[in-house]
């Protein structure tokens, strides 16, 4: 079926089967690597993208189901030359071991800070409570989120 999406700011037309998940569309039809397949059940968060600025688990979203909406992936945040403050904060805090869950952690943080610019540690933990990490990088990630809040605040005029 045909439908349109705004992906990282660009309007795109798609003609994909009805079964195509947003995750598969982003990875296979758009060649993006940020969102990762982790569980296919919305449990682990590694596939997180933003749909109109709200965190969404792209593995459980049929692509046509968000037709016409704005999708932001990790690639849409910043570049190596000009990283998004949240990306910069994760680099600064060295918040990855294997890094497979990193996409979800970053995207969930971006969504949280857009809603709550200065979250308490409890809010951060609640927001990330269903983003799984096997390596035990939680401490560095919590540090990265607090650092990201500061960097985002500095970025605001």
């Amino acid at each position: 079926m045909t439908f349109a999406l705004q992906i990282n700011g660009s309007a795109r037309q798609f003609d994909t089967p009805r079964e195509t998940s947003l995750l598969h569309l982003l990875r296979n039809d758009c060649g993006l690597n940020g969102p990762k397949y982790g569980c296919g059940l919305g449990q682990c968060g590694s596939c997180t993208v933003l749909v109109d600025g709200v965190a969404a688990r792209s593995c459980v979203v049929p692509a046509h189901g968000v037709a016409g909406r704005h999708i932001t992936t990790l690639e849409g945040l910043g570049t190596r030359a000009a990283p998004h403050p949240v990306q910069q904060a994760f680099i600064d805090a060295q918040a990855a071991q294997c890094g497979y869950c990193l996409n979800g952690m970053v995207m969930a943080t971006v969504a949280l800070l857009a809603r709550v610019p200065d979250p308490t540690p409890k809010q951060v933990r609640a927001e990330l409570s269903h983003n799984l990490c096997r390596c035990g990088t939680h401490l560095e990630i919590l540090d990265a989120v607090q650092r990201a809040a500061r960097l985002c605040a500095e970025d605001r005029p």
Binding site: Y37, V61, G65, Q94, A96, H130
Partner: protein
């Protein structure tokens, strides 16, 4: 930078100009080491191994046979090479794990990469630096090719001159990962790539026994004929895979492929870990015997035999394994290139070669990063799967394992049984320590080799239970033995392999001795710890943590039901085959809080000390320590593989049944790294995990006085231990939630409700007479065909009429029933299950032969009003003409105009053939006489125009009663109070829309409006199942019509319902059901204390599904998910049919009912109902 040039194969490097290489001859094959993981000898035919290349632009490439498993090895090795060459880290590039270029250094295991395998690399760099210094630097390499043989006597830089090694540097791989660049094997793509999926056998997680590779009975390829883009179905013994052009098509084919399996013998009893290990045949291997153990035990003042049991655990990689293979063909020198996330590239290459029947060197294995696994997960298996599929289709194939496949089939971290015999002397010293450890060892041959029976599925005992089997304490009488045994479940090494369980026993036992002796546990350890470096670490860690010496459990009370405790443990990880090598020393102090009522254990703070000798990258070491602490806390508190008792099949297929430590549970971690710059660097990747579980168990003992000897320490385990032989304290009464005070439903319909009336008896009698005559006439062909006509010209009807028809079609949801799954809209073919048989819907498009293109308006009107097809045949009342008959002539005309204006699609849906007698269509004349009140709706002048509009839409074109009104024995909608009182349709419950609703909150005009307009209502839930497309269609209708329908339906609600509180149970004890809910569903469904995600999080306490008499709608949504959202706010939900068993769905739904509808009786037979709905689906 030349060091980063892609595709630096060994041959290419050796042919390059402007380079200095340090080579070594292929080391001789390692001495045979029975019972150890397979090693593959280097092949001299591939030429000498290149360790290092220094390029004429000043850059350098290091070649390493090991891989970075997320521990920062790449960064640390970069530091080592840059240090010796006096380069900046940015000038150094590491080639890791690619078999075409790197030396064969075996598997990346046992934290040995820095300690052992970095040594030749460092020597090579030192040697190269000497050469470059002697020849005027890198510029001297221009146009030259220099090769040096590795000099094992090369003089390396003195430690005091280090400027990079020992400094904390950032990880080199994070920027690429944080920007979504190609980093993981999952991200690898090549032109022409296809997508593969495998279908695994039913014996999930078992890999030994004659049935392995012998259980496939047949594959019905026709079962996926309807899926487009399928390229191949590949079957080889029990290996089954599908290849498709698109990934979702491969997924669909995997799910739909009909595969028949023969019965196979299970492996019963593995769920009882201790008994299973005791009963399993083993070979005793005495590792150490000192003193007179038996006499010492016999003479002990207190005899203290103890048993400790470790569960099977998962590697639990967040990313299921993935690989890409490109089969180049038998004729090519390199028959295949395989991109894989393996831990052991050369061993895997040998496996792939064996599978393909070619020499090792003809396969290129390109190692890419994968999700952290801390041992061996499915990475090798999927590489072999990809090779088989690519070979079958001759194109590159990417294979992604599903979460369920990864979890069920990954080689588990093995269970373990540790038995200690010993005791105390009268003076409080240990009498003896007689330790035996039983480890169902592991090799986990690559799965495809077994499934294809390329290798025999024979369970081989490895000698791997001996890691850290010798306790660190000076027991005068000491015996240590390993009981080597073959694997039970498919298993392989997991972080701290066998050492972690062994240390759990050693460190629990010494704590038990201290307690029995009445001596502080740290003091007791120090009295018997001969290793001075260890003792220093123990003292420093205890001091850092503020250890409070104590001689009995402190059981410090805190708030409410909480008891606090502190526990200590120490271990030096001794890895590899006994006697092995010592890696870093580590000590833990864990502070825990135990809830006496619920059994929940919270690890509040961990202070961990570590002595890893010289630390190449101290920040990296600290990071690893953090990871070890959190992962071990997770393993200790939460993790256990569940198997089906009768078969041994792994039951965990998703995270709900195997939760990991959550961000909410993360403790404070304080790390103390011992500064030892003058000592050799020691493996730091695993050591800090080894003492962790004992520290937590010892802390729980300190808090409660209860000793736990079998992790995980889940709430139900702790609760049972705390309340042995007695019931736990009664929970408080369920407390109503203050904000959830809502009006309660009344039971009666309003007195003035305008219910459709039952036909009076005389009318029934008359109808029977008329109907009988009509049936006879019908059998004689009384209802005539209406002559076919040409499809009306497009300009016959005005645009306004056609538009009105479009809205009516939407209000009538024509497209919902007249479209087959994945069929074209309105072309018919959807199967409607009725009690009388399956009725297929017809083609509604204006195609003259297969659709209604030859229908005149009169024929259309007759069908809608009387249920007679154009050709005179009766239509089955699955087509709701008893409702459509109420439509006005104008509306029928508009609907006709709209349908005729749509594109004609030639498509012949299956013919409906009901069994006798229902197949006799003329009988429907009698049915109609009884049940059809033909003719347009007559407004009720006592009601408002809005009410009448609503009634017209609901009872006419909207035909709500078709689903929501129960039917009589003849399939006719019942009248009177049965009107819209709820019915079962197509395996779903269409709930009551009147005051008979079971919902905790009565419907109102507002909530009905919200539901019909937006697809959800806070007081009732979201429209799912067949209702979702109905709401989607209603989106076309103007607000006024939706309001009118809501107003009309609201007139069947009880007025002025009394207010009563809705209780949500807040006292449910934590356990498997609560965990399943929290971890399988909790990301979206929580009480406001979880993440904010796309879609709604409606309160379950008010959900109609949870308050119904039947669990059907809840079960179906759990099984099938929500793929079609009723409205843009609703959001989506995955179906759990492939990931949760009937028992798990039953557990979950029973829990939800109990928690959120506590005033309703428990649903019965949930598992069998789930099974029935699963089949019906």
């Amino acid at each position: 930078m030349r060091a980063e040039e892609a595709g630096l194969s060994r041959a290419a490097v050796r042919a390059a100009d402007g380079v200095l290489l340090v080579l070594r001859e292929v080391p001789p094959p390692p001495a045979p080491s029975p019972g150890q993981p397979p090693a593959v000898a280097g092949n001299p035919a591939e030429g000498p191994e290149v360790l290092l290349a220094c390029w004429d632009d000043g850059s350098a490439t290091g070649f390493v046979g090991h891989v970075d498993l997320g521990t920062g090895l790449r960064t640390a090795l970069t530091q080592i090479v840059a240090e010796e060459l006096d380069l900046a880290p940015a000038q150094v590039h590491m080639q890791m794990g690619n078999t075409a270029s790197v030396p064969n250094q075996g598997a990346t295991i046992a934290s040995a990469s820095i300690q052992i395998h970095a040594v030749p690399l460092r020597l090579a760099a030192a040697q190269a630096r000497a050469w470059l210094q002697a020849h005027g630097g890198a510029a001297a390499l221009a146009g030259r090719h220099v090769e040096l043989q590795l000099d094992l006597q090369a003089s390396t830089k003195p430690v005091e001159d280090y400027r990079l090694v020992g400094q904390s540097v950032p990880r080199v791989d994070i920027p690429a990962k944080v920007h979504g660049e190609v980093a993981f094997v999952h991200d690898m793509r090549v032109p022409g790539m296809l997508h593969g999926r495998v279908v695994r056998p039913p014996y999930a997680g078992l890999d030994a026994g004659e049935f392995v590779g012998n259980t496939l009975e047949g594959v019905d390829e026709g079962s996926i004929a309807h899926i487009p883009g399928v390229v191949a179905v590949v079957v080889q013994r029990d290996f089954v895979g599908v290849v498709a052009e698109r990934e979702e098509m491969a997924e669909a084919a995997m799910a739909a492929l009909a595969v028949r399996w023969k019965p196979w013998p299970g492996m019963p009893g593995v769920d009882q870990t201790e008994q299973a290990l005791r009963a399993h045949p083993s070979t005793r291997r005495l590792l150490l015997e000192e003193g007179q153990v038996d006499q010492a035990i016999a003479g002990a003042a207190a005899h203290m035999p103890r048993t400790y049991v470790w569960p099977y655990q998962l590697h639990a990689s967040i990313g299921p394994s993935c690989a890409l293979a490109h089969w180049h063909g038998e004729a090519a020198a390199t028959v295949a290139t395989v991109w894989a996330g393996t831990q052991n590239p050369h061993v895997l290459r040998a496996d792939l070669a064996l599978l393909a029947g070619v020499a090792d060197a003809r396969i290129d294995l390109v190692r890419m990063e994968a999700a952290g696994c801390y041992g061996r997960n499915g990475a090798d298996d999927v590489a072999a799967d990809a090779l088989l599929l690519s070979r079958a289709v001759g194109r590159p194939v990417r294979v992604q394992l599903t979460r369920a496949q990864e979890t069920a089939w990954e080689p588990k971290g093995a269970a373990q049984l540790m038995q200690v015999d010993g005791g105390l002397n009268a003076d409080g010293t240990p009498a003896a320590y007689d330790f035996q450890t039983s480890y169902p060892s592991n090799g986990a041959p690559t799965l495809a080799l077994l499934l294809t029976r390329t290798v025999e599925p024979v369970a081989k005992a490895f000698e791997m239970g001996d890691r850290t089997a010798v306790p660190p304490y000076a027991y005068a009488h000491l015996r240590v033995a390993a009981n080597d045994m073959a694997p039970l479940l498919r298993a392989s090494w997991l972080r701290g392999v066998s050492a972690l369980p062994n240390s759990f026993a050693h460190e629990s036992y010494i704590d038990e001795l201290a307690s029995a002796a009445g001596i502080d546990p740290v003091d007791y350890r120090l009295r018997h710890l001969p290793d001075a470096r260890a003792a220093e670490l123990v003292r420093a860690t205890a001091a850092k943590a503020g250890w409070k010496p104590h001689t009995a459990p402190q059981s410090q009370a805190a708030d409410g039901d909480i008891l606090k405790g502190q526990g200590f443990a120490y271990a030096r990880y001794i890895h590899s085959k006994f006697p092995g090598f010592g890696a870093a020393w580590a000590a833990w102090v864990a502070d825990v809080e135990v809830n006496q009522r619920t059994g929940e254990v919270h690890v509040r703070r961990v202070v961990v000390g570590q002595d890893a000798g010289l630390m190449v990258n101290p920040a990296g070491v600290q990071h690893q320590v953090h990871g070890n602490v959190l992962q071990t806390t997770s393993r200790a508190l939460k993790e256990r593989v569940e198997v089906e008792p009768a078969t041994g099949v792994t039951l965990n297929r998703e995270w709900g049944s195997y939760p990991l430590l959550s961000f909410r549970e993360v403790p404070v971690v304080e790390v103390m790294l011992m500064p030892r710059p003058g000592e050799a660097p020691l493996g730091a990747g695993e050591s800090a995990s080894v003492p962790g579980t004992a520290a937590i168990a010892n802390a729980i003992f300190d808090a409660t006085g209860v000793r736990l000897r079998a992790p995980p320490f889940t709430p139900e385990v702790v609760r049972a231990a705390l309340h042995q032989g007695q019931l736990p304290p009664p929970p408080p009464e369920p407390r109503p939630e203050a904000e959830a005070v809502v009006p309660a439903p009344a039971t009666g319909l309003p007195a003035d409700a305008r219910l459709p009336r039952r036909k009076p008896l005389w009318a029934v009698a008359l109808a029977l007479v008329v109907g009988g005559a009509a049936t006879v006439a019908g059998l004689a062909g009384w209802r005539s065909a209406i002559a076919p006509v040409a499809r009306p010209a497009l300009d016959t009807y005005s645009a306004a009429t056609i538009e009105r028809g479009r809205l009516l079609a939407a209000a009538g949801d024509c497209v919902v029933c007249h479209t087959a799954p994945s069929g074209q809209p309105n072309t018919g073919g959807r199967a409607m299950d009725t009690p009388f048989g399956t009725v297929y819907t017809t083609n509604l498009t204006p195609d003259p032969t297969t659709g209604i293109g030859a229908w005149s308006l009169a024929a259309f009107q007759r069908a809608m009003r009387e249920g007679i097809s154009r050709d005179g045949r009766h239509l089955y009342p699955a087509f709701p003409y008893t409702a459509f008959t109420k439509m006005t002539d104008d509306d029928l005309t508009a609907l006709y105009a709209y349908l005729m204006a749509q594109p004609a699609v030639a498509h012949q849906p299956p013919a409906t053939q009901l069994p006798f007698p229902f197949g006799l269509r003329p009988l429907l004349a009698g049915w109609n006489a009884l049940n059809l009140e033909a003719g347009a709706w007559k407004p009720d002048i006592a009601q408002t125009p809005q009410w009448n509009r609503g009634a017209y839409l609901v009872n006419g074109v909207g035909h709500c009663g078709a689903c929501h009104t129960p039917r009589d024995a003849l399939g006719a909608e019942r009248s009177g109070t049965a009107f819209l009182s709820g019915a079962l349709i197509d395996g779903w419950e269409a709930p009551a829309l009147t005051a008979l609703s079971k919902a905790p909150v009565p419907w109102t005009a507002d909530s009905l409006y919200a539901y019909l307009r937006h697809g959800h209502s806070r007081e009732h839930g979201a429209a799912t199942g067949p209702m979702a497309p109905v709401v989607q269609e209603l989106a076309a209708l103007p607000d006024a019509d939706i309001r009118a329908m809501a107003l009309y339906l609201a007139s069947f609600q009880a007025p002025d319902a009394p207010v009563r509180p809705v209780a949500t149970r807040t006292d449910m004890l934590p356990g498997p059901a609560q965990r399943l809910f929290e971890n399988a569903c909790g990301a979206c469904h929580h009480d406001g204390d979880g993440p904010r995600l796309l879609g709604l999080n409606l309160p379950f306490a008010l959900s109609t599904k949870l308050h119904s008499d039947r669990p059907d709608n809840l079960l179906r949504v759990m099984l099938e998910g929500v793929r079609e959202a009723a409205g843009p706010q609703v959001g989506f939900m995955p179906g759990f049919a492939d990931n949760l068993s009937d028992a798990q769905i039953a557990l979950l739904s029973g829990y939800l009912r109990q928690r959120y509808a506590p005033d309703k009786p428990a649903w019965q037979d949930l598992a069998s109902r789930t099974a029935a709905l699963r089949t019906a689906r």
